[in-house]
């Protein structure tokens, strides 16, 4: 694979994470536990969708086949989406929403931090902008982890349940395939093994403050690097792409 092809693929992954998780959060608009938090979740959705747009614009440029950033989002089939399975998991309740955000944002911050020094300048620039936003996402999610963990019996139990259910999707965050290795060698991509250690410390520290139990690293789900997803993604895409697919000739 040429370096350019590898980078294209790498950008798709980064964009897919952002667009899919952003979509999940956008679903919560007018559904927050109170108005202020409704706005907070929408802000995160906006940040992630904006990040996705930057990654897809870059991907479209690298691809250079006349596809726009929107084409990549709205006309690509499910089996060619490469977001992590964690990002597509449904909102379920506020506990799941926060735990998913916390697990992802911790990973995202370390990843973006690393990519700020990527040899690929454009990727580094996007990462610098995104990092500021994702740091806020992490801080917001961390505070809520502690509130839920130390709040009431019910909130603690709900947060723990979400953590137990979502944990099996965290192993995949640190998988590296040929694309990662090729780009890592060129100092373009991030080293996920190093990031994993930092992530584990960050998670453990917050869970301790929150009084939540870290689940065992037993079975971990995998598949997104090959475009194999949970059943949830198909529904998300069916909805997201519906208008563009129903009127393929139209411009919006």
């Amino acid at each position: 694979m040429t370096k350019k092809d590898a980078l294209f693929q790498y950008c798709l992954r980064l964009g897919d994470d952002a667009v899919v998780l952003g979509h999940r959060l956008a679903e919560l608009c007018s559904r927050g536990p109170f108005l202020e938090e409704d706005l907070a979740l929408t802000n995160i959705a906006l940040d992630l969708t904006g990040q996705a747009q930057l990654f897809f614009l870059y991907a479209a440029e690298l691809d250079n086949k006349g596809q726009s950033a929107d084409d990549l989002v709205y006309r690509r089939p499910e089996r060619q989406f490469y977001n992590h399975l964690l990002c597509e998991q449904p909102n379920t309740d506020f506990g799941y929403t926060i735990v998913r955000q916390f697990l992802f944002s911790a990973y995202h911050c370390f990843l973006l931090e690393d990519l700020c020094t990527s040899q690929d300048e454009h990727l580094a620039d996007i990462s610098k902008k995104a990092l500021k936003e994702s740091r806020y996402h992490l801080s917001h999610a961390t505070d809520w982890m502690v509130r839920l963990g130390q709040g009431t019996k019910e909130s603690k139990q709900r947060a723990q349940q979400a953590l137990d259910a979502l944990w099996m999707y965290t192993g995949e965050l640190f998988e590296m395939d040929d694309i990662d290795l090729q780009l890592l060698e060129a100092n373009v991509a991030a080293d996920l093994h190093t990031i994993r250690n930092m992530w584990q410390q960050e998670i453990a520290q917050t869970l301790k403050r929150a009084g939540l139990q870290q689940p065992e690293d037993n079975f971990m789900q995998t598949g997104s690097r090959k475009g194999v997803h949970t059943e949830h993604l198909g529904h998300l895409l069916a909805e997201m792409q519906s208008l563009v697919r129903a009127y393929p000739e139209a411009a919006w």
Binding site: H23, R31, T42, T49, D70
Partner: protein
């Protein structure tokens, strides 16, 4: 004695502030009006929210999200303004959910196609802005200040909707048809947003006296009609009113009478989405209960020193 201070301030066009003396009627009138305004912003998030997950481009999705988020923010500013009058947000939410407080009737209509997102921004926000510009000069300080902020932020909302309509009107035949269909469905409800004709308006008289309201329903409606007709022509759509004509003498457009029976039927609960909107609100509020309890319990633990911040 204290009420005299109030009258003096009103006469001098000075704003009334939360801790100023004010007649009970003024207070109740404001609570009713501001909370209704706040509820409208919050319930108004639903019809547009119905399209967020189907917005056809990243750009349109972000714009729509930002707009709906603004509406939540505006609801919040208005709840805060009402709270300065001595009612809690919890009480206002209860009044909304039990039907004691109302919200703008327009949101009882469904958003059926993407063109409806255009029509809502262009017509519904457009009508709201006409009303809100007037309210920037309303006599109650916190309400007026909230309106100033809201007007500033909403300036992009109407353009967002108009842009969608213009694009669709100039798009494929199917898109054009959707745009015209949306205009057909939203036109009359948008005109009714200004409230019943002046002759029938229940709350107007005192609201004028107290300088809460500064222009009449019909005058505001006329302003909106005059500017919207021109905008419609520019994008090649048609106002769905065979009686529409320009009166050279007055310099205003004249329209056919509106169907106020439908207005009262919908406002009294029998519109397409009344139940759905309130059920949505109740469900979300109930689902958020454990979260709010957790936050309150955590804060209590911080306060009592059980936990360190």
């Amino acid at each position: 004695m204290p009420v005299d201070l109030f009258t003096e301030k009103i006469d001098q066009n000075k704003s009334i502030e939360p801790r100023d003396p004010m007649p009970d009627d003024y207070r109740y009138h404001l609570i009713r009006q501001i909370s209704q305004h706040a509820h409208s912003e919050v319930i108004g998030m639903q019809p547009e929210g119905n399209w967020i997950t189907r917005a056809p481009s990243l750009r349109s999705k972000m714009i729509l999200l930002a707009k709906i988020q603004d509406e939540g923010g505006h609801g919040l500013y208005l709840y805060s303004a009402a709270e300065t009058l001595g009612i809690s947000r919890e009480e206002m939410i209860e009044q909304l959910q039990t039907g004691k407080a109302r919200y703008s009737n327009i949101f009882n209509y469904p958003a059926l196609t993407w063109a409806d997102i255009g029509a809502i921004g262009w017509l519904v926000d457009g009508a709201a802005i006409v009303n809100q510009v007037m309210l920037q000069r309303t006599s109650y300080g916190p309400y007026a200040r909230a309106m100033v902020r809201i007007c500033k932020e909403e300036s992009f909302h109407q353009r967002q909707g108009y842009e969608i309509m213009a694009k669709m009107a100039a798009g494929t035949p199917e898109q054009h048809e959707m745009a015209q269909d949306a205009l057909n469905r939203w036109w009359a409800p948008a005109l009714m947003m200004f409230g019943p004709p002046d002759a029938e308006s229940l709350h107007s008289k005192k609201a004028f006296q107290w300088k809460i309201k500064r222009e009449s329903n019909d005058a505001l409606r006329q302003k909106f009609i005059d500017k919207t007709v021109q905008q419609t022509e520019v994008i090649g759509l048609k106002i769905p009113d065979p009686g529409l004509r320009f009166n050279e003498e007055t310099g205003h457009y004249e329209t056919s009478p509106l169907n106020w029976d439908e207005f009262y039927r919908v406002i009294n609960g029998n519109g397409p989405c009344n139940r759905q909107r309130i059920e949505h609100h109740k469900k979300v509020h109930a689902e958020g209960q454990w979260v709010r309890e957790a936050a309150a319990a955590y804060a209590e633990k911080l306060r009592t020193g059980v936990l360190e911040q």
